[in-house]
């Protein structure tokens, strides 16, 4: 007891004037904050994760959650977070776990980039009146075309195109495995992507049988643990993604605790029930770029060269050179996952301190690939911290072909970004495998919400393009002229190859 109790993170209060003792808060809280004692509801604020499930379900708006009601003596260096981390580790001697993406207050580059619009010298294009093309093809494109003129004046195409994924909006949903999120959550996402005409990733958790109807909109993942991978799985996916790294935890593997490995998950992942699912840090058959090339070719060979193969890396300092290596490996797309990318569970020290923002990574990857004349070899998919349609437009201007969203899609299903996913007791039924919590998430309702979100972003993207006098997304891609940096330093402007506002 030498450390003792620390100040509350949250204080939960119930306004007795408003409360009608209905007990919904007690039912809904999965963290054990509320309990009924006779006619009153008792509160243990210390358990609160601020997931807002109670607030959302209180019919009388009686509940209030106050953040940091009491604090430590203020200190600019020894912040609350720093002190609590030390207390935590002094008690446990362990690595501190965390959820979601980077939580350090680093400046957000997206918020210091502004988009362009037409005035007078060229007309903006009204998407309500004119066609606006957001269709995107992901995969390898030829560097040039070989055409043979025919006697009738037409031409014959002699270049053979390799398989590409066709998406009607450049927004896809990233890889969140069954295990990291619930099957109901995955089902909701799957319904949404198949209605929109886009794709989602399975994550490294295999593909549950109930999702087979949506398999044409699934990108199956092959990660270092190879969970759920067999020929059946590979053949079901529309594309295959090799996961090398993840923005939330570059350089390390993953760990799904055994208590989450229920019967269903054990079948889908093809591991014994109750056993820890440990994905090693590196793939044990990839110790260099030429090994990656072999895996890319093996996966293509296994699926008869019918499917594009993507490679996902965490955005790190040397991403550009790594992406150039991947472009030469035969892969069809490189996924660059920035350091704001989320995770169900990741060591806090990695989440907050390793990797770089996706904006800078995509800018340098695109520049390097163009510099080497291999930009058509791979598509660039950006992920990690895409929060709104403007972020999508900006990252496409910086050179991305499409984006993966993760956290945004979860928020559309009710997630409040409380960052407690690693506890496995998500009250929203998203990051949990507890049946009573999972059943709270209705796949159909949530599919509509996710669909609405992507649809709304797509409409906004079309409006942004039209305002910029562009009617096809190809002309936005890599169009850094249509971006300006606002209060970005010279070094970053150079990396982004963007001029400052006013210039």
């Amino acid at each position: 007891m030498s450390i003792g109790s620390t100040p509350l993170k949250f204080r939960v209060t119930i306004d007795p004037e408003r409360c009608m003792n209905c007990g919904r808060c007690v039912e809904n809280c999965s963290y054990g904050v509320f309990r009924k004692e006779g006619d009153s509801i008792r509160i243990n604020s210390r358990n609160c994760a601020a997931c807002h499930r109670c607030i959302a379900f209180c019919p009388r708006d009686a509940i209030e959650i106050e953040e940091q009601p009491g604090d430590y003596r203020s200190h600019p260096v020894w912040t609350r977070e720093v002190r609590e981390a030390i207390f935590n580790q002094a008690r446990t001697g362990r690595i501190i776990l965390s959820g979601m993406g980077n939580a350090k207050p680093y400046p957000i580059i997206f918020d210091q980039l502004v988009l362009d619009a037409c005035q007078v010298t060229n007309p903006s294009i009204d998407p309500l009146r004119e066609p606006m093309e957001l269709r995107t093809y992901l995969g390898k494109k030829p560097a040039s075309l070989s055409l043979r003129p025919l006697p009738d004046g037409e031409v014959e195409l002699r270049t053979k195109l390799t398989p590409n994924l066709q998406i009607e909006t450049p927004i896809m949903i990233g890889h969140m495995s069954y295990g990291a999120i619930s099957l109901n959550a995955q089902t909701a996402l799957a319904k949404a992507v198949s209605r929109i005409g886009t794709f989602m990733g399975t994550g490294e958790g295999g593909l549950h049988e109930s999702l087979y109807p949506y398999q044409d909109h699934m990108i199956v993942q092959v990660a270092s643990g190879r969970f759920g991978v067999d020929i059946n799985y590979l053949e079901r996916g529309a594309a295959i993604e090799i996961k090398i790294g993840q923005g939330a935890k570059p350089g390390i593997g993953g760990h799904l605790p055994g208590d989450k490995v229920c019967t269903d998950i054990s079948c889908t992942r093809m591991i014994p029930e109750g056993s820890d699912a440990i994905s090693p840090a590196p793939h044990h058959d990839i110790y260099s770029i030429e090994d990656l090339k072999q895996l890319v070719r093996s996966l293509k060979e296994a699926t008869e060269w019918k499917k594009p193969v993507f490679v996902k890396i965490a955005a790190v300092h040397n991403s550009a050179a790594i992406a150039a290596g991947i472009a030469r490996s035969g892969a069809d797309a490189v996924v660059v996952d920035g350091f704001r990318g989320g995770s169900g569970a990741t060591p806090r020290v990695f989440r907050d301190h390793v990797g770089i923002p996706v904006e800078a990574a995509v800018a340098s990857v695109d520049a390097k690939l163009r510099d080497q004349g291999i930009r058509n070899e791979v598509s660039i998919i950006a992920s990690g911290g895409i929060r709104e349609s403007a972020d999508v437009a900006k990252i496409i201007c910086l050179g991305a072909d499409a984006v993966y969203i993760g956290t945004s899609a979860l928020v559309a299903m009710g997630c409040r970004v409380c960052g407690t996913c690693y506890k496995g007791t998500c009250a929203w039924g998203i990051a949990t495998q507890k049946p009573e919590l999972v059943q709270r998430l209705d796949p159909e309702t949530n599919a509509v919400q996710v669909e609405n979100l992507i649809h709304g972003w797509t409409l906004e993207l079309a409006e942004l393009m039209g305002a910029a006098g562009i009617n096809s997304i190809e002309s936005l891609r890599g169009n850094r002229d249509r971006l300006r940096g606002y209060m970005l330093d010279e070094g970053l402007l150079e990396v982004l190859d963007v001029k400052t506002v006013g210039a």
Partner: protein, 350 residues
């Protein structure tokens, strides 16, 4: 705004510049007196074997020798002279235009399959990006660009455009927006055999520039039009596509139209869009491009800039305005307005 006109005589009958000047000046409503220019094909028959390099010098004494040293490194200057000019009261002569007839030495670029063109391209890119008081603004054989900052009639009189006789002309009346009316920014833009005039603003310039620069071209003129010249050079000369297919890449059909095409055609058009997505041009434009035997005109995919075509015997006219065409030939027939994105191509008779 900007006004453009192009004409090709398919029997190679020569036309002097008088009428083109009048036609261009008739579109002064579309200009601002800050830039005009002409290009004529077939004007140097006695030197037609050699690349005619037109250069703007800032100062003859300072900048001419370094340029000539560079040219001599890569080939032979067969002949050079100052381009004849005639001072105009409304045109300030800020550069001295010079012409060189130049023969590159193909052995100096042994790895290339088109060494002469590659040497010329290299020289143009190098000189124009270094900005060392010299700017090569015309580099084809048997053709020449004449341009400056001023009204069309003043620029024409300055260069004595009526003294040149060509079978193919392009001309441009500029209303500058993106960049100031400097001489290098006036149209036509030229590289090797290709010349371009353009009315509009290419909103995909950033994308096009990043694309074309990855093939070693350098955009140096501060204006969107030059990418068109380089893109044409890349797609037609280097990749061997026809002008028609190149225009298809620049202003492709919409996906909803492609989706309705027969399978073969669909496959071809999809391949063009996938391969050359970064070469696609967006925003409002009407463009005329020319080479020694072809005149091509096309607009953006939703036709946000005007383009009119007329025919008169062997001559094909393409212009922003019918009135301008009628200034050259008042009896012109078969006037029509091409559909958005569809090229109009005039070729010399074989």
């Amino acid at each position: 705004m900007c006004g453009i006109i192009g004409v090709i005589d398919r029997r190679r009958q020569l036309m002097d510049g008088t009428k083109i000047k009048e036609a261009l000046a008739s579109m002064n409503e579309r200009g601002s007196g800050e830039g005009a220019g002409y290009v004529a094909y077939g004007i140097y028959p006695e030197y037609k074997e050699y690349y005619a390099l037109h250069v703007f010098f800032d100062h003859i004494r300072e900048h001419k020798v370094p340029l000539e040293d560079l040219l001599e490194k890569w080939g032979t200057i067969v002949h050079d002279e100052q381009i004849k000019t005639c001072e105009q009261p409304n045109l300030r002569k800020v550069h001295t235009p010079w012409r060189y007839f130049f023969r590159p030495d193909p052995t100096l670029m042994p790895k290339s399959t088109t060494p002469e063109e590659d040497i010329i391209t290299h020289l143009v890119m190098k000189v124009n990006s270094e900005r060392n008081g010299a700017l090569i603004f015309s580099s084809g054989k048997n053709l020449g660009v004449f341009k400056a900052a001023g009204w069309p009639e003043d620029v024409a009189n300055f260069y004595r455009i009526q003294d040149y006789k060509g079978y193919l002309w392009l001309a441009h009346n500029r209303y500058p927006t993106n960049t100031a009316g400097w001489w290098g920014g006036a149209h036509p833009f030229n590289l090797l055999d290709w010349s371009v005039v353009h009315n509009g603003e290419i909103t995909s310039y950033g994308t096009n520039r990043r694309y074309i620069e990855s093939f070693g071209y350098k955009c140096t003129m501060y204006t969107d039009t030059e990418v068109v010249a380089y893109l044409v050079d890349l797609l037609v000369r280097k990749h061997g596509l026809s002008e028609k297919i190149a225009v298809r890449a620049f202003a492709p059909p919409f996906w909803e139209d492609i989706d309705r095409m027969p399978a073969k055609e669909q496959e071809l058009n999809r391949a063009i869009r996938l391969t050359y997505g970064s070469a696609m041009m967006n925003g409002p434009f009407a463009i005329c491009i020319a080479n020694e035997n072809t005149l091509v005109g096309f607009t953006d995919r939703i036709k946000l800039r005007p383009l009119v075509v007329g025919e008169s015997g062997d001559r094909l006219f393409i212009s922003s305005e019918e009135a301008a065409i009628r200034r050259v030939d008042k009896d012109v027939g078969n006037i029509f307005m091409p559909k958005a994105g569809e090229p109009v191509i005039g070729r010399l008779y074989a």
